[in-house]
């Protein structure tokens, strides 16, 4: 029913947002850049949740809303469902996606490892790569937070990268 958008365009746009915020506007303040990217995601999630919950009854509890995010919302945005959902029943939920679409075509730049000087330990290069990937995850984190807060669930969302392209999102609901 809805209009569709080219997937490659969205991915390019995300890459471009991240690079212009991290290397352009806020090159020396990565934290501020992360906050800005998250805020964009928040607005996107806010609007998407309005649209995707149109034809369904209201949710009675948090778990139902989270399940909606895992199933319907995720399939609308990423064409697949969340692979694994864990919770401690105290307001923390872990959503694991074994093949997160926006990371599936991301690779660690080999030049960092091969061209890096000998003094430069590979751990540092890895760290740098992880940081770059982390920057790309602020946008989806914002989307989740925006969607949930529009559904009346204030929360904090963070992301963990275990090994590409798997990643997990941790949702902590504010009491």
């Amino acid at each position: 029913m809805g209009r569709e958008v080219s997937e490659s365009c969205v991915e390019s746009l995300l890459t471009e947002i991240v690079s212009s915020y991290c290397n352009g506007f806020y090159a020396d303040k990565p934290e501020l850049a992360a906050r800005r990217i998250e805020a964009i995601g928040f607005q996107v999630g806010h609007q998407l949740s309005e649209r995707y919950t149109m034809d369904r009854p209201r949710f009675t509890d948090h778990l139902e809303a989270i399940k909606f995010i895992c199933k319907d919302f995720w399939s609308e945005v990423f064409k697949k469902q969340i692979d694994n959902l864990k919770t401690n029943h105290r307001g923390t939920f872990v959503l694991q996606d074994n093949r997160f679409r926006w990371l599936s075509r991301m690779s660690v730049d080999p030049s960092i490892e091969t061209l890096g000087s000998i003094q430069d330990p590979s751990a540092m290069a890895e760290n740098k790569a992880a940081q770059a990937i982390g920057m790309h995850l602020y946008f989806p984190c914002g989307i989740i937070r925006g969607a949930l807060s529009n559904l009346g669930i204030p929360c904090a969302v963070s992301a963990d990268i275990s090994n590409l392209p798997a990643c997990s999102f941790v949702i902590r609901i504010k009491a």
Binding site: Q43, H46, Q47, S49, E50, R51, T53, M54, R56, P57, R58, F59, T60, D61, N150, L151, G152
Partner: protein
């Protein structure tokens, strides 16, 4: 005939309110919409009580049986009249309350946005109202998806206003004859 429609945000902040009468009674209609918000809140609360019942039954398992059971009894009592109706959490709330001259219908979205309809028709068909709200909701969703719309602020889009007045005009026409 529909005389007034309104969109009210989750903090009861008016997002869009429009009357469709020739007479100068906008204030009266706004007042009616305002009153209906309490009824919407009431119905929203009823559905929240079911959650409490669920939590209470969980507590029973952990101990403190007596108190939890007592609480559970209170809530389920509150709940019973509502449980009989199958439309527990439906977005469409139905007739909120009838006044002398008007009928007020409500619709509560998942995002706690309230859509209100005030009509002078006395025999309104449920299907027509549902249909109206579905179109109205779709128009609202399109309006707030505009990247230049600030969430929680009034909807100033002219396209939205035009679309709403089209929906209002076509109310009851499709299946009225």
């Amino acid at each position: 005939m529909i005389v007034c429609v309104a969109v009210v945000g989750h903090q009861n902040n008016p997002l869009y309110i429009q009357s469709f009468t020739e007479a100068d009674d906008a204030l009266k209609l706004h007042h009616i919409v305002h009153c209906s918000l309490d009824v919407v809140d009431e119905r929203g609360l009823l559905s929240r009580h079911t959650v409490l019942v669920k939590f209470d039954s969980g507590v029973v398992l952990c101990g403190n049986k007596k108190k939890a059971a007592a609480d559970g009894a209170v809530y389920s009592k509150l709940n019973n009249p509502k449980k009989s109706s199958p439309t527990l959490n439906e977005t469409f709330l139905g007739l909120l309350y009838p006044t002398e001259n008007y009928k007020v219908y409500g619709y509560l979205t998942n995002t706690k946005v309230k859509l209100i309809l005030v009509t002078t028709d006395l025999d309104v068909r449920d299907a027509d109202v549902r249909n109206f709200f579905r179109n109205f909701h779709a128009a609202y969703v399109d309006a707030v998806s505009n990247p230049f719309h600030v969430p929680g602020k009034k909807i100033t889009s002219r396209t939205f206003a035009e679309r709403v007045s089209t929906i209002v005009k076509s109310f009851g026409l499709s299946s009225g004859s």
